[in-house]
Amino acid sequence: MKRFFKQVAAAGALAFIGSAVCAPAGAVNVTGAGSTFVYPILSKWSADYNARTGVQLNYQSIGSGGGIAQIKAGTVTFGASDKPLEPADLAAFGATQFPLVIGGVVPVVNLDGVQPGSLKFTGPLLADIYLGKVTKWNDPAIVRLNPGIRLPAMDISVVHRSDGSGTTFNWVDYLSKVSPEWKTKVGESTSVSWPSGVGGKGNEGVAAYVGQIKGSIGYVEYAYVKQNKMNFVQVQNSAGNFITPEAKSFQAAAATADWAHANDFNLVITNAPGADAYPISATVFVIMYKTPKVPGETKAALDFFKWALEDGQKQAEELDYVPLPPPLVKSIEASWKANIKTGT
């Protein structure tokens, strides 16, 4: 596999040199690997970008863990991870990172007679449900938040992801931020030791379980909620407002998150402070070398990301991803200039 990537890299380098000598538009190959969450939008972007420029982007959605391993091994031009790396980790192998696109993690329920988007939850309540402390739908804690909605005396069936995933990471990161008990008992990672519930494989597995089990609650990516018209809920943010998960509120979270104080964009934007910010918003991070072995490929990759961040919003919205807010795009591009040596 390593040799294969080296060959691809060599071919890319040759092509780049060729293109530099002969013509401006050559067949440069950019390879990336990692997060499955960005795969749909990356393939859409790369197809459009390829039609426009002839640059080919090969992305392997092998999971964030795999993506980090591949970029560390130097087999790919960029890695993509749902979880940001610590600045110290990045420095250890001479890399930098930046966010690429926003998504959201949305709690969904299966309750007869409850309209989508009507049920309200607070973060600590969600944590208590997932801890197995609140077990009935007519628990006073839920009833108090939802006057006017008839809640059955039914057991709550908790559904979570069984596979390690960025969706889980952002979900439990949020629960850790709002519930001290969750933080000490369970903690945060791409997969955790769940105190209760059943595990579905992938968003589709969780969606299927929630669809089948009456009285269940689960969490899935926003695009999945929208495309499958699932029964989503509102979540109270840190400003005290109940927020509906939608593009606008995710973007508000990314815009109000404290990027200015985050080295290497090392920030998980859950529980963002904005008044309209949806509290379980998430970004995907791209990891690249500061001094790449094949500068041409990195340059091609950065050109691609620049195009995607600035002109790729339409494609992102079509696939129910949320583009980064323009000021954040500006600071990302500034960080490229400061950190990444493409040698041209």
Binding site: T36, I62, G63, S64, G65, G66, I68, D155, S157, S162, D163, G164, S165, G166, V186, G187, E188, S189, T190, S191, V192, S193, W194, G197, V198, G199, G200, K201, G205, A208, Y209, Q212, I213
Partner: protein, 321 residues
């Protein structure tokens, strides 16, 4: 053509050389398989070393699986693997036995080949298809029919009732065991059919000649004659059930803990690996998953080896297999 030109001795020498090369070639092919098996085993041991060094033998007896704290134990997936496979065997073996007897003894001749072909086709269905079918069709049906019935009728019984309590999720160890039963049924049936067919016709005819009924012939002649083969067939099915991944991942519920109730979600070794491998960050986590793989490897290896031994014993006795 060339051979005719050469003197007799040269031709002999040439043939001897070809013989040696041919022997070496086939021998290296066979040794390659052994080398691969040894390679897999060594890789698994090497990969699982950090986890085995950290947790020692307690890895086998701990129920905890906490990636955040870096604490891992194989007991829950091991339990799930054994329980789902046992359920599958309990259900599949009697059906396979009945079907195999029917196909070799009582079935009209013209119907034998079509049914046998269908069984082979069933064995060829990819496991992901069973998984999707189990998740989207079978589990909802179980949730609404079999599971409420079990909870209402068997749940209140002291002792055994504890196996059938809790909410009907539709998914869980029982569902996984049922799907596995359907998956291994064709394998066991096919092998059992072969071993029943290996019964010498002379023996059966002699029994019929003595006035034995069909039942008596099956029970007193065919089955005792095929005993080792039956056990071999069961073990082959068991080997497959233990290692089955995708179908189980879809319907087992994937909870890393041990519940007494069969209706509760659980996990198996292969499902845990498939679920967590891609996002296993950190050497210890990865190593713990590889250690799970090592356990499964040794488990299936020993079962298939036992099955082979049984079938070897049958080979020594029966002339047709």
């Amino acid at each position: 053509m060339v051979a005719r030109v050469l003197p007799y001795q040269l031709r002999m020498r040439h043939e001897a050389r070809v013989e040696v090369v041919f022997g070496l070639l086939t021998r290296s092919c066979a040794y390659l398989v052994l080398a691969l098996l040894a390679g897999v085993l060594l890789t698994l041991i090497y990969g699982s070393w950090p986890a085995l060094k950290t947790f020692k033998l307690a890895f086998l007896t701990r129920e905890v699986w906490d990636p955040v704290a870096g604490q891992f134990g194989a007991l829950a997936p091991l339990y799930g693997t054994v329980v789902t496979s046992l359920i599958a065997m309990l259900l599949a073996v009697p059906f396979a036995f009945g079907a195999a007897i029917f196909l070799t003894e009582t079935c009209p001749m013209w119907l034998r080949t079509p049914i046998a072909t269908c069984i082979e086709l069933l064995a060829g269905v990819p496991s992901i298809v069973y998984g999707l079918w189990g998740l989207f069709l079978f589990a909802p049906v179980l949730q609404q029919t079999l599971q409420p019935w079990l909870i209402a009728h068997l749940g209140p019984i002291p002792g055994i009732g504890r196996l059938f309590r809790g909410p009907p999720f539709g998914i869980g160890l029982l569902t996984a065991g049922l799907v596995l039963a359907i998956m291994v049924l064709p394998f066991i049936t096919a092998v059992m059919r072969e071993v029943f067919r290996a019964t010498p016709t002379s023996l059966k005819e002699a029994a019929y000649g003595l006035g034995a009924t069909q039942w008596e012939v099956v029970w007193h002649v065919v089955v005792p004659n095929a005993r080792a083969g039956i056990i071999g067939a069961i073990m082959l099915g068991l080997g497959r059930a233990l290692g089955e991944t995708m179908a189980v991942t879809f319907v087992a519920g994937n909870a890393q803990n041990i519940s007494v109730s069969l209706l509760a979600p659980g996990t198996t070794i292969s499902a845990a690996i498939a679920n967590e491998f891609t996002e296993a960050v950190g050497p210890l986590y990865l190593s713990a998953l590889i250690a799970l793989g090592l356990i499964l490897f040794l488990l299936t290896l020993s079962i298939i080896a036992a099955a082979r031994l049984m079938l070897l014993r049958l080979n020594a006795r029966g002339p047709r297999l």
